[in-house]
């Protein structure tokens, strides 16, 4: 059963993303409210995919991506950035840090599910 970590400070978005992902059979969603919370969840659960927002309190999504990529235990976990930052330079920056995909909000559920399925399939 793949575990998907949804890192998002907005409860509305967390619920929306979780709601969408739960439609993929056998997917389990773990929620985190910011980067630090996400690192805690990463150390206690086996995570197969991370969906992270950029703008979050305590630790933002970009910092989280760089920490994940720098840790040998997590470096291979795919990370999809889901953000309101839609500019091309933001996308390039996130991808250069190590994010696998970049999805600007407002999200299209079908697009999100397609990406999730792609990265879960390896």
């Amino acid at each position: 059963m793949p575990n998907i970590l949804v890192v998002e400070d907005s409860p509305t978005m967390r619920q929306l993303i979780s709601f969408a992902i739960k439609r993929i059979p056998s997917c389990h969603v773990i929620e985190a409210t910011d980067g630090v919370d996400a690192l805690k969840k990463l150390s206690s659960e086996k995570i197969d995919l991370i969906l992270a927002d950029i703008n979050m309190p305590v630790m933002d999504g970009l910092k989280l991506v760089s920490l994940v990529r720098g840790n040998p235990a997590y470096k291979d976990i795919p990370v999809i950035i889901v953000t309101t930052e839609g500019a091309e330079e933001d996308r390039k920056r996130a991808l250069s840090i190590g994010a696998n995909a970049y999805l600007p909000k407002p999200i299209q559920t079908q697009e999100l599910l397609k990406l999730v399925n792609t990265y879960l399939a390896g």
Binding site: S10, T12, M13, F19, T84, K105, P106, T109
Partner: protein
């Protein structure tokens, strides 16, 4: 001599008979040859007619198979069309499901609390994340002054949002008439004018307007509105209004209750000697 003549006569007779026999045999052989030829002809003709019958049979079968192929092709084409129909209906249903999920989440979140500031935060989240607005403000009607007062904003300071009299300007008109306003140009490229939003949605409880949502700019990646956006606007117009109104009443009543309770506690206190 007579004996000799009789012997010769018999020999001739025998020779004649032998010749006749030879001719008869030859004739029989000729007849036999003819019959063999005839049999061969008949056999050949029989075979030919058999081949023709078989060819006819094959032709008939090919005809039937071609008919069947044609009908299968037609059925395949119809099934393909049905598949396309189902696929497009499936996509429509999927899209509808996704939209309903968005609306469900937005509505669930809006009614998840009775804390006024929490409700305002949820309204902001919905407008940013689900609608895709970058700069906007929420204004509520102050019944005492009959003015729209900004209570929260995103992408701009609350103080930058205007205070508007009901019926005054675009925002005031939306509040007065209760009808949403959508600008033809949603790019938000024009210079920022707090009185000229690109979208203005009245927040209504039934026909009673309690405030407006005033959007000035959409996110860069958001070029226009989809059906679900209009549904979200409708939802915000109703549910956000109810949530804001009830949470404000609840917060006010909580505050009043605390004041009254404190007052009662004060009265109950024994007078100091």
């Amino acid at each position: 001599m007579e004996k000799e003549t009789g012997f010769v006569g018999k020999a001739d007779e025998f020779l004649q008979m032998f010749k006749k026999g030879e001719e008869f045999t030859k004739e029989l052989l000729r007849e036999n040859e003819k019959l063999r030829y005839r049999i061969a002809q008949l056999e050949e003709s029989l075979q030919r007619s058999g081949d023709e019958a078989r060819v006819k049979l094959y032709e008939d079968r090919i005809g039937l198979l071609e008919e069947e192929l044609k009908s299968l092709k037609e059925r395949f084409r119809r099934v393909e069309e049905e598949n396309k129909d189902f696929a497009s209906k499936y996509l429509e249903v999927e899209e509808e499901n996704n939209n309903l999920a968005n609306l469900y989440v937005a509505s669930y979140q809006l009614h998840s609390t009775l804390d006024f500031s929490e409700v305002l935060r949820i309204v902001l989240e919905i407008i940013i994340n689900l609608i895709g607005a970058e700069k906007f403000a929420v204004l509520l009607i102050d019944d005492k002054t009959n003015e729209l007062i900004p209570v929260t904003a995103e992408g701009m300071a609350v103080s930058d949002a205007p205070k508007v009299k009901i019926g005054q300007g675009r925002i005031g008109t939306v509040a007065k008439e209760g009808e949403s306003f959508f600008s033809d140009d949603l790019s938000g490229a024009a210079e920022f004018n707090p009185h000229e939003p690109i979208v203005c949605i009245p927040l209504k409880i039934k026909e009673h307007v309690i405030g407006v949502l005033s959007i000035y700019k959409l996110l860069t990646q958001k070029s226009g509105f989809t059906n679900v956006d209009y549904e979200l606007f409708n939802l915000l117009a109703g549910h956000a209004a109810t949530a804001i109104f009830s949470s404000r009443l609840y917060t006010q009543s909580e505050r009043k209750l605390t004041t009254i309770q404190s007052f009662l506690d004060l009265l109950k206190e024994k007078p100091r000697k």
